[in-house]
């Protein structure tokens, strides 16, 4: 291990490559600050990549939390404009089942309207026409402007814009120490996981955007934040059952949202407290799977007959109010802590709480605070300036890349928005597929490898959906590993190790729901990799 000192000072260092960190990097860099973002793994590996991908209208919170509801609907409308390539405007239905209290509906609608959320009560028959997969026994339906948002794309796009404005981004750099001078944080020490080097970086302000891991980062500064890890488990189904978001019209509870997201749909979530020590190792339990299915089938009976692809769980970074040491009074709202005023520690800011929906607002508040500390008065532009990928008409882009086969063209524009115009010069080889389920071409994978900070197969999956389809890596993983090796991104030995860890990561998500066709397919996958490709059992975990 070598000690590598760098003296180049930044205005702000952001710790954490989730949506909030990426959004803060974007906002800060757009306001002219010199920005460094560090992330210990890949971008969107934490709660950002482990949620519903629901573009909340805010309706879910309207009755219980007006403030969150108002924030949601405002950010919802902003994201539709600035991140159109990450958003699908599906709308949402709040369904009342026979077992639910229909009286709740009017209370719900009133609360929505009060928060500025359009809420139309519609005839259950019309609701079923709009969304035939919904439970036919519903006794009430309200239509709201919910949608779907892809958190991987959203984060990647924020990173891209931040870099376009001069930000530096270091993934696989884990903060090991906060450099302190008297009562001020002046920089960070990081371990580069790829080279195993330790480096130091200095800045005027350090932003802790580590999500649930922000707890530990704050500890490095000797600051205590009372975080309450809340696990949320979800199931991914093999294809889209619904095209409109389905919610239960009742107080928020377990497994009451079914979201169509890209080629699949997701039911979630559960909610359970977990010890902090377990946040790095989330497994979905059989009880959670049963609960998700039991409740999910009530929203859409078809789920009982739909293949489940995976189960996964994320950890919400909930924060106990500072004035409540018992931790019972939990806020789901945005928590921005200026440690100068809170703890007498200058140059250190923590942003946490909140949700994916409000990542931009969280970033704006954080950047406002950072700017105040640095005496910068440039206004925020992130609510009006579109993200890369969402700037141009995708129909025009489609015409530009007409040589790309149709399904691939649609899929790639879906994923990359106007960035897909990079594929206009594709050769026939570039147009050959790596991932057949999700229509990811060699050209798209090359683009991701060259321009989107991809270090391994799992990173590639987050940028392109390689391995996210029904086959879960069966056909694509070895092709992608081969491509990475050919492009000198990995030596043969590393490519093989990477392939093994990718397949094991895929299996982790399948194990809790490994029955029926999913089990059959995973057995076949194991046979291909062990029998044909010669990956040995000893290289498995």
């Amino acid at each position: 291990m070598t000690q590598h000192e760098t003296t180049k000072p930044f205005d702000v260092i952001i710790i954490g490559g989730g949506a909030t960190g990426a959004g803060t990097a974007r906002d800060c860099s757009r306001r002219g600050l010199r920005v460094l973002l560090v992330e210990r793994f890949d971008i969107s590996t934490g709660a950002t990549g482990r949620n519903h991908g629901l573009l909340h209208s805010g309706a879910r919170y309207a009755v219980t939390d007006q403030e969150s509801a108002e924030e949601c609907i405002k950010e919802n409308m902003i994201l539709r404009k600035i991140a159109s390539h990450c958003v699908e405007e599906t709308d949402g239905l709040f369904l009342t089942l026979p077992e639910d209290d229909i009286q709740f509906q009017s209370k719900f609608v009133d609360a929505c309207r009060q928060a500025g959320i359009r809420a139309d009560v519609i005839d259950p028959k019309d609701a079923l026409k709009m969304e035939p997969s919904a439970n036919p026994n519903i006794i009430g339906a309200v239509r709201v402007p919910d949608g779907a948002v892809d958190p991987f794309r959203l984060t990647a796009s924020n990173i891209m814009d931040a870099k376009l404005h001069g930000a530096e981004v270091l993934t696989y750099h884990e903060v090991t120490e906060l450099i302190r001078e008297q009562d001020r944080i002046v920089g960070i020490k990081v371990l580069d996981h790829k080279t195993k080097e330790t480096k130091s970086y200095y800045s005027s302000v350090v932003v802790n955007a580590g999500g649930i891991w922000g707890h530990n980062i704050a500890k490095l500064a000797g600051v205590n934040i009372n975080m309450l890890p809340a696990k949320g488990a979800l199931l991914i189904f093999g294809h889209r059952v619904n095209n409109i978001v389905l919610n239960r019209c009742r107080k928020p509870a377990d497994a009451d949202i079914l979201v169509p997201g890209d080629t699949i749909c997701l039911i979630g979530t559960t909610s359970s407290k977990v010890p902090y020590e377990e946040v790095d190792n989330m497994y979905v339990t059989p009880e959670e799977v049963d609960l998700l299915l039991r409740e999910g089938e009530k929203l859409s009976p078809q789920l009982a007959q739909t293949r489940i692809l995976r189960a996964y769980a994320g950890v919400r970074p909930l924060v106990a109010s500072d004035d409540d040491p018992s931790g019972r009074n939990v806020s789901r709202g945005i928590v921005l802590l200026d440690h100068a005023t809170r703890d007498g520690l200058e140059g250190f800011v923590t942003i946490t709480g909140g949700k994916l929906m409000t990542y931009r607002l969280m970033s704006e508040w954080t950047t406002d605070l950072v700017c105040k500390k640095l005496n910068v008065t440039v206004p925020c532009t992130t609510a009006s300036e579109k993200l890369p990928g969402s700037r141009e008409n995708t129909e025009e882009i489609s015409k530009k890349i007409i040589s790309v086969p149709l399904a691939q063209r649609n899929a790639t524009i879906n994923r990359h928005g106007d960035m897909a115009d990079k594929f206009s010069e594709n050769t026939p080889l570039d147009n050959s597929l790596i991932c057949e389920c999700e229509e990811v071409s060699v050209g798209e994978a090359k683009y991701a490898l060259n321009e989107l900070d991809v270090n391994n197969l799992v990173d590639l999956r987050r940028r392109t959906r390689v391995g996210m389809g029904t086959c879960q890596g069966e056909l694509c993983a070895c092709r992608a590993a081969g491509l990475m090796s050919n492009m000198k991104k990995a030596c043969t030995k590393r490519a093989k190790a990477d392939l093994t860890s990718f397949l094991n990561e895929r299996w982790k998500g399948m194990a809790p729901i490994a029955w029926g066709d999913t089990l059959r397919e995973s057995e076949y996958t194991a046979w291909i990799y062990e029998g044909v490709c010669g990956l040995t059992s000893s290289s498995k975990e």
Binding site: G238, H239, R240, P260, D262, T263, V289, D290, L293, R294, E297, A304, Q305, T306, R307, I308, P405, L406, A407, N410, A411, E436, C437, E439, G469, T470, C471, E474, L475, I513, W515, G516, D517, R520, E521, Y524
Partner: protein, 406 residues
């Protein structure tokens, strides 16, 4: 224990485990790079189309609906059905006048048979073929099947009373081919059944099975005809207790499988009673002491049996082959089971001619490589393709059987 243990999914495509053996067995994917192959066009594509309709790719029209993908599939995915259903649901291409003429075998047959000598001569003329090619996009290299001067139904009317006198009866779904092009096949069937002690009836009302209507996009008309046929079949099977047999493998397959799968016309109450003539006869031989008197001292003939795709899908070529083996003077060779390439009306279309002939090439080579006297097959369009593309004559097994009888 899990909650999904009784999974009886309508989402048949989800049974696919991506083994890709369907694409390996697809005759089109092997010769036409524009066709994405059954895996991508079927289960993979279906998942994407469920996300958004614009994932429908018009290249699905290259599927010849041979169902060899379904035969190959170890996971029971109805790949061919998924592709055809997607075409029905999503295709925005309107059928052309050519498609109308090719699809309406009933109508065109009715119009042509009274003038068969003129129609046959005219369709064989080079300038006519050039016009058909240029204007209608029906390939000029294609030989048209000859129309018969007078239909099978016309001939049968004079036989009806005699047939009714037999103690045992079968209903015969003759199909357009036996009716308009080759009444002799129908007559042969009557001869064979009579020799077995069965009288042959026709259905109260028979329409074209609709296979060409389905493949050319005339779904409503196909549904209407399917309903008429099933109503007549029900009358025969359920009221008169008379089973239905057919000589065309494609008609049989369409009525049994495509009606419920693609046209949503239910047939489960009669499906088991609709079968191929060769299977029915074979079963008579195996279950009862049926006897046929064959001519004696006939010269040996070398016969090659070609398995049509829909026979492969039905799994019934065994019966035709075993029946042929009963004929004393036949030396039988079973050809490799592979698509001949015509696929009904598909091969008649100018844009498909090359694909069609490329698919059939290895079959034609195998046929020419041996000194066969005749090729035998249960499918009429395979017959046209083999006769046009090789030097051999091609006959139906029932005709071969009828010929061998005393």
């Amino acid at each position: 224990m899990n909650l999904q243990q009784h999974n009886i999914s309508d989402n048949n495509f989800e049974q696919c485990i991506k083994c890709t053996v369907c694409t390996v067995y697809c005759p089109v994917a092997a010769v036409n790079p524009d066709y994405p192959g059954p895996k991508q066009a079927g289960p993979d594509g279906e998942r994407l189309r469920l996300k958004k309709f614009n994932f429908y790719d018009e290249s699905l029209k290259y599927c010849i609906n041979c169902k060899r993908c379904e035969v190959a599939c170890p996971s029971n995915v109805r790949i061919g059905d998924i592709i055809q259903a997607a075409r029905i649901k999503y295709s925005e291409k309107k059928p052309t006048l050519r498609d109308f003429i090719l699809a309406n075998t009933d109508l065109v047959g009715t119009l042509s048979t009274p003038f068969a000598p003129i129609v046959n001569t005219t369709l064989g003329l080079k300038p006519v073929k050039a016009i058909l090619d240029g204007v209608m996009k029906i390939d000029h290299r294609r030989t048209f099947p000859k129309y018969s001067f007078g239909t099978f139904e016309g001939w049968y009317k004079k036989q009806a009373a005699k047939q009714a006198a037999y103690p045992k009866q079968v209903s015969y779904f003759h199909g357009c081919y036996a009716n308009y092009n080759n009444p002799q096949l129908g007559k042969d069937l009557v001869k064979v059944m009579n020799a077995l002690g069965f009288g042959v009836q026709l259905l109260e009302k028979e329409k074209c099975c609709g296979v060409a209507l389905i493949s050319n996009g005339f779904i409503n008309q196909a549904k209407k005809q399917a309903k008429t046929n099933i109503a007549s079949i029900r009358k025969s099977v359920l009221e008169k207790k008379i089973p239905v047999i057919a000589t065309s493998s494609t008609c049989t397959f369409t009525i049994r499988d495509e009606y419920p799968h693609l046209l949503d016309v239910k047939n489960d109450d009669v499906r088991d009673q609709i079968e191929l003539a060769t299977r029915y006869i074979y079963r008579l031989f195996s279950q009862q002491s049926a006897k046929l008197n064959f001519k004696k001292g006939e010269k040996k003939i070398k016969v090659a049996y070609h398995t049509p795709c829909h026979m492969e899908k039905l799994g019934w070529s065994y019966y035709s082959i075993e029946l042929l083996k009963l004929i004393p003077n036949i030396e039988l060779t079973v050809l490799d089971s592979q698509c001949c390439g015509i696929a009904g009306t598909y091969g008649f279309k100018k844009e498909n001619y090359k694909t069609s002939q490329d698919i059939g090439a290895s079959l034609f080579k195998q046929i020419e490589s041996c000194d066969f006297d005749v090729v035998v097959t249960d499918c009429e369009t395979c017959k046209w393709q083999i006769e046009m593309s090789t030097s051999k004559r091609c006959e139906h097994p029932i005709s071969i059987l009828a010929n061998a009888l005393e």
